[in-house]
């Protein structure tokens, strides 16, 4: 199940970054990408047959690039639109991952994204009990984390 979720998470994140954010995530991070501090977090909580959260963490340059691309601007927009863009990215990735946690008829309700600035120290330490992926994006990096608080019924790990 973990492999299936990881594959689904990778697919959802890649297509969302490419189709919505117009950036191309790469799984092999270059040194400067790996060293870029994670500055922003967007968390979407979901409730349905199982509960959990989907979080995207990105370095500041990636957050700016996403917002700039999504809005079709020549330069980065002001802060609230940067938060909005990252929140929408998390919302779309979450919406595309949660079907893997239930039957085709399962209905999941997604909460509004919670976007915050994160401390460098918090961004440096992975949380246990999550399925996480890391990508290099432009001159920074992104992490996508799925936390499921209740195991899907009848599914082994």
């Amino acid at each position: 199940m973990t492999n299936l979720l990881q594959s689904r998470l990778r697919q959802a994140a890649s297509s969302t970054f490419e189709d919505l954010g117009f950036v191309f995530p790469e799984e092999d991070l270059e040194d400067h990408q790996a060293a870029a501090p994670l500055a922003w977090s967007a968390v979407v909580a979901f409730r349905g047959p199982v509960h959990g959260t989907l979080e995207i963490r990105v370095s500041d340059g990636v957050a700016e690039q996403l917002a700039t691309n999504m809005l079709g601007l020549a330069s980065p927009p002001e802060g609230s639109l940067k938060r909005d863009a990252l929140g929408e990215m998390a919302n779309v990735v979450c919406g595309n991952v949660v079907p893997a946690l239930g039957s085709p008829d399962a209905v999941f309700d997604l909460a509004a994204p919670d976007v915050t600035e994160i401390a460098t120290a918090a961004g440096a330490h992975p949380v246990e009990g999550v399925i996480a992926l890391a990508f290099g994006v432009e001159n920074g990096r992104a992490e996508v984390r799925l936390t499921v608080s209740e195991a899907p019924a009848g599914v082994g790990s």
Partner: protein, 142 residues
């Protein structure tokens, strides 16, 4: 005929992306209204004639499904053309949306997939849209 359009999404960035896609679609546009949730959308519909609504599902205050239910109950708005633009993947919920006579576009969408759905709903052909898109004074961002 030029269309009055309502874009309903709690994300200002997503509304902006949809509006840009509308402008590049070649569909002749008159007024474009925006709302951040279903309740605000109903207020817009009470004050303005709208031909086409593009609606998200997961929104605070009143979600998209509740909005469509209200729209279909009102004799003035019940025939409104609706395109749901959402991450929704539940087959049961998508079937309910389709049963309301709405079309469905899954996020993340490409500009072309949304454009084709808009053309299908409005009945504008690719040829007609191309002629509008190349008309002098057209406003297309990309």
């Amino acid at each position: 005929m030029a269309f009055n359009v309502l874009v309903v999404d709690d994300s200002a960035v997503m509304r902006s992306m949809i509006v840009r896609t509308l402008k590049m679609s070649g569909v002749p546009l008159q007024e474009i209204h925006e709302a951040a949730n279903g309740r605000d959308a109903l207020s817009v519909l009470a004050e303005h004639w709208v031909d086409l609504a593009l609606v998200d599902i997961n929104m605070p205050v009143m979600n998209g499904e509740q909005l469509i239910e209200e729209v279909r109950k009102d004799p003035v708005t019940r025939d409104l053309s609706v395109i749901v633009v959402s991450t929704e993947s539940s087959e049961a919920r998508i079937e309910r949306i389709l049963s309301y006579g709405a079309r469905f576009v899954h996020k993340p969408f490409t500009a072309e997939s949304l454009r084709q759905t808009i053309l299908g709903v409005t009945g504008i052909s690719d040829d007609q849209s191309a002629s509008v898109a190349t008309a002098p004074g057209g406003e297309f961002d990309f």
